[in-house]
């Protein structure tokens, strides 16, 4: 049941991705609406499927497949919210393919291993996991927006007025959106670290353990924190910040993956 729901949602996203890519070539309002409807419908089915999973498993969806699935769900939800707020459907041409790429392996893998042991399950844990995934989704969208900025900047700087130059939003818009997403992602990431530290302090290993996940997340946190600082006080903008965001997202992705496929003991014990 949940799997077929997820499969339909996945197909809707795939179609939406194609629609958004077509929109890049032909900017027709009808295509923008088709994309919105498909992503919206997909999110609805996807949301129901995730809710079933949560209730099925008692407390929360764990495991790699669900993790990937949830990140895709949240990224697309963020995108849809942004599109409704700013009317920039062209974002979809970047976010939907990424979401599909994240979701498909999850659907094919099914289940997968759980990073959390039973004794680690506590009432507050769902909050920790949800916030962590939300932060990751926000950074995923931010990284895409940063990529759009870099592409657009290259065109404006190099005076190559191709398709992207005509379709992408202004540099200012992309930079500002990127800043907001990083700020929200950073807040979520901070919350994740604090709640993670709380669980860690109650686990047998104590507050600090040398784990890939913890180290990578901390590094990412520092990168994003520095980026925000540099932006606020050092007047850093545009290209440099976009590159930092993409690097930070890469580190965070590594941390996320390592919590499912432990590299040298990745999970909380």
């Amino acid at each position: 049941m949940t799997h077929s729901l997820l499969s339909i949602a996945c197909h809707a996203y795939g179609l939406a991705a194609l629609v958004y890519l077509a929109l890049l070539v032909r900017p027709v309002e009808a295509l923008a609406w088709a994309g919105r409807l498909m992503v919206g419908g997909g999110l609805l089915l996807h949301g129901v499927a995730l809710a079933f999973l949560w209730t099925d498993q008692g407390s929360l969806p764990v495991g790699m497949a669900q993790g990937f699935s949830t990140v895709a769900f949240l990224s697309l939800a963020i995108f849809l919210a942004l599109d409704v707020a700013y009317r920039r459907p062209v974002l979809g041409a970047f976010v939907t393919p990424l979401a599909v790429a994240v979701l498909v392996p999850g659907v094919l893998l099914r289940g997968g291993s759980s990073p959390l042991d039973v004794d680690g399950r506590q009432p507050l844990l769902p909050v920790h996991v949800s916030v962590a995934l939300l932060g990751l989704a926000a950074f995923a969208v931010a990284a895409m927006v940063a990529a759009m900025y870099l592409l657009m900047e290259r065109q404006v700087k190099g005076k190559k007025f191709g398709l992207l130059f005509a379709r992408l939003p202004s540099l200012q818009f992309l930079d500002e959106l990127h800043r907001k997403l990083v700020l929200w992602g950073f807040l979520a990431l901070s919350l994740t670290l604090v709640s993670g530290a709380f669980f860690a302090s109650r686990s047998p290993g104590g507050l600090w353990q040398w784990e890939w996940k913890t180290v990578a997340t901390l590094v990412a946190w520092v990168v994003f924190g520095t980026t925000l600082q540099a932006r606020m006080f050092g007047g850093w903008r545009g290209r440099r910040v976009a590159l930092l965001t993409m690097a930070g997202f890469g580190i965070l992705l590594l941390s996320f993956l390592s919590s499912y496929a432990p590299l040298g003991g990745g999970a909380f014990r």
Partner: protein, 440 residues
């Protein structure tokens, strides 16, 4: 009796990069000198120099000599390299080109209105210097008529975005909207004014104007609601500006990488969009390599404009038809005009002969004839002249479909031994005849 041939030699944004064009961008003094030199050789000349084109139009009896002189002038100013970017048009092709240029069909920004004024200015200067007299003045006024028709009968001018509005378009790609942005205008000339109006219209927050002569800056500021800033402190104003539009006649760049870089710190990373509408350029090309600075010169702006040029292509085609019509019309008029002096000369000569013969006859016959008979003899002579000349007159008036000088008129002049050198006193020949004027 050879006719004046129209010749156009030049280069434009289509044939030459800005590096070459800026070397040939003459100021008024240089233009005056160039015109004087051409005038002394007896040809008519007009020198059109804008930021997108440098074109020399000459009307000369010996096109080869004229061509050689113009090429020598262009080579001495722009070097041998400039010669490889030149194009040439002769006769009707030159006329078509001039009509297209004046109608803004050859412009970087199709349909932009400035070029007509620039051609008018060029003609005015050439007339003032005595370089444009008959032929060029007439061709130009036909070109202006064509431009007017193109403007009123097609939509090309209405959808036209000038260089300035192309710059506004580019600014939107960087800033999204110009609302609240500070625009620094460097140079208060016509280009600067146009840019200021466009930017103000697009919602720019504040306009700052810098000009070497402060009075001009103040005048422009008063017109468009801008604030005047000190030209000496030019770079310091970069801290406040978001958009810089340059259009000065400065021979050297005002902004270079070295001179701009120190002033970027105070901007706290805000992007800076610099538009250079001037040729020679006011902004050195390496400024664009600075982080967060986007510097565009006239050629770059052309590329932006090419983006939405397709929409205007259809209108341009309609305009092209108008140009063709006007060229044919002018050619007819010109052929007729060429024929008229010959005709007048022919008629004058015939009348002269007839009246001489009448006088001689009457002198011989003496008092044998009554007054009425005398009048009859004179009338008969006139009638013969009229009947003989009727057919040639019609023919000479009718020719003129071809753009070339009226060959029939030349033939008639040859056949009847008419020439300006004969100095037949015919009023039309003195006022409208380019040839008789040029020969003396």
């Amino acid at each position: 009796m050879s006719a004046m041939e129209l010749l156009c030699i030049g280069l434009s944004h289509k044939s030459a990069p800005v590096e070459v064009r800026e070397r040939l961008a003459f100021g008024e003094t240089r233009l005056t000198e160039a015109l004087a030199e051409l005038r002394h050789t007896g040809m008519e000349a007009l020198w059109l120099s804008t930021c997108n084109r440098v074109e020399v139009y000459v009307a000369a009896e010996d096109a080869e000599v004229a061509r050689a002189r113009v090429l020598a002038q262009l080579a001495s100013a722009g070097g041998e390299q400039a010669l490889s970017h030149l194009y040439e048009h002769r006769g009707e092709a030159a006329m078509v080109h001039l009509f297209r240029v004046a109608s803004s069909l050859d412009s970087m920004v199709l349909g932009e209105p400035q070029i007509l004024g620039q051609v008018k200015d060029a003609l005015e200067l050439a007339q003032r210097e005595g370089a444009a007299r008959g032929e060029l003045v007439r061709v130009c006024s036909a070109a202006f008529g064509t431009a007017k028709r193109v403007r009123t009968e097609t939509a090309i001018g209405r959808s036209a975005t000038s260089m300035a509005s192309a710059a506004v378009e580019l600014a939107a790609k960087i800033f999204g909207s110009l609302e609240g942005r500070v625009v620094l205008l460097v140079g208060a000339g016509e280009m600067g004014e146009l840019a200021a109006r466009h930017l103000a219209h697009a919602g720019a927050g504040r306009l700052l104007v810098c000009n070497r002569t402060r009075e001009r800056a103040e005048r422009l500021a008063a017109e468009v609601g801008a604030e005047v800033r000190d030209f000496a402190q030019l770079h310091a104003h970069l801290a406040a500006a978001d958009v810089v539009v340059c259009s000065t006649a400065s021979p050297l760049p005002l902004f270079t990488r070295e001179s701009v870089a120190p002033y970027l710190k105070g901007r706290r990373g805000r992007p800076l969009f610099m538009v250079d509408l001037a040729v020679p350029r006011d902004i050195a090309p390496d400024v664009n390599s600075l982080d967060g600075v986007y510097a565009y010169d006239v050629d770059d702006i052309q590329k932006v404009v090419a983006e939405n040029a397709a929409a205007r292509a259809a209108e341009a085609e309609r305009a092209q038809v108008i140009v063709a019509e006007e060229v044919v019309r002018y050619s007819r008029a010109r052929a007729l005009r060429d024929g008229v002096p010959v005709l007048a000369q022919l008629r004058a000569r015939a009348t002269e002969i007839a009246s001489a013969e009448v006088e001689r006859t009457l002198a011989l016959l003496g008092s044998e004839l009554t007054d009425k008979q005398r009048k009859s003899v004179a009338a008969m002579a006139n009638a013969i002249v009229n009947k003989l000349l009727h057919q040639p007159t019609m023919k000479l008036r009718a020719t003129g479909s071809a753009s070339e000088p009226n060959r029939l008129a030349d033939a008639a002049a040859e056949l009847f031994g008419l020439d300006a050198a004969d100095d037949v006193h015919v009023p039309q020949a003195a006022t409208t005849g380019v040839r008789s004027g040029a020969k003396q």
